[in-house]
Symmetry: C2
Amino acid sequence: MVAVNTDMPDMRMSIADRAAGRNARGHVYTALRDAIISTAFTPGQRLSETDLAERLGVSRTPVREALVRLRDDRLVEIVPQLGTYVTRISRQAIGDAQFVRESLECAAVRAAAERASPADVLELEGVVVRQREVFAAGEVDRFYDFDDALHRSLCDLSGHGIAWPLSQRASGHLNRIRRLSLTYPNYIDEMIEEHLLVIDALRRGEPDEAERALREHLRMVLGSLPDIERSHPEYFES
Amino acid sequence: MVAVNTDMPDMRMSIADRAAGRNARGHVYTALRDAIISTAFTPGQRLSETDLAERLGVSRTPVREALVRLRDDRLVEIVPQLGTYVTRISRQAIGDAQFVRESLECAAVRAAAERASPADVLELEGVVVRQREVFAAGEVDRFYDFDDALHRSLCDLSGHGIAWPLSQRASGHLNRIRRLSLTYPNYIDEMIEEHLLVIDALRRGEPDEAERALREHLRMVLGSLPDIERSHPEYFES
DNA sequence: TTGGGAATACTTGTATGCAAGTATGTAGGT
DNA sequence: ACCTACATACTTGCATACAAGTATTCCCAA
């Protein structure tokens, strides 16, 4: 029997979750994905279905189903009769994720520029305002929550609700980087400025400019990649 | 015990498949996806894990895992304690699939236009030639195989191997339509002509023209949608 | 000391058993 | 005739047992 690794949080599902109809599989998937994205599970780390099941207070079945889904996300690699490993970050995986995210979100924001009403634009600006507030208050996690909310809204305004969740599922490797790159001072200010550029283009109904601004914004995170690779070389593939 | 529905093929996995390392889950996923795309499983049809497991000669476990994956593809709907159903075709799902496919493949073909070598272009043209041949020979299934191969090559030339499989997984609803729309005479000729337009743009290294031609090509299948909806109203959502 | 081999303890893949909930069909009462 | 209640047979979600394979470890022999 492997001892429970105490440097990891207890992930057990609450009774409230069960009552709310959420099933164990979804809960496990979310918990494991969060752990990987936040690098609580470090790239390269070996996982064990049995161990995870114990930790999460469920059986192997929902753990397995969650891991299979995470493999589709390229966040784990499952080797039969050998083990399951958190994937290391790779340039190819990052490039692919960036490609998918740019393709989907830029196409979405083009459609959004054609469709957004003044009320929609006001709502988007409200999200940016709240983003400024929580950042001023030093609540970094909530800043990122609002960041996701903004990008989701941009996607949803395209009329294609599939765009955001699909982009997110493909962006696992990128999000790991994002979490690690919260370092240099003006980073946040620049992000907010770029958000406003996209929203301005939406207000004026200019798809080309909206796409251009969003694409540049989405490429910002890549700028911190060399630094992260230097400070965490063990997270990356050879 | 429900009697085995004899109007469906025996899907049992061969020993060779097992020896080749393919696992039951992947086999079941492929078999079920093909059955749904080809409308051998009709939209709205109810499926039973137990029944499918028996038919496929495996246990419920790999069947369950395949069905969960098919739910991600929006090809089945799983209702706890009630049943699993093949989704009906919906305008929203088709629009979403079209959006994803256009976004990914058009972005890919733009990159391909920048990167394709003369040898790459020759190979693409070879695929179109073979497409003409198998169509002349009346081998419709192989025609579609080559169609997929061509689009896959276009995607792969972008350098982002993720583009094609992701586009395919998102295109389940579209592919069901494609299978049903093999009716009017000049359809195939038009498709081949449009393929050549895309390849020409690649040869000349013109991303804008390649994207434009591919987008128009991808929208072709939507033209047959009203006809299909008229001839198979029971396949569609209200 | 070193090398080889078997026992062991793990891994994932699959099969099966149990729990909880829903639709249906039937029997009995009104 | 019709409506209600209950038994039944199904469903999926989850837990667990077994199968097959691999890495490690430890013991024994040379």
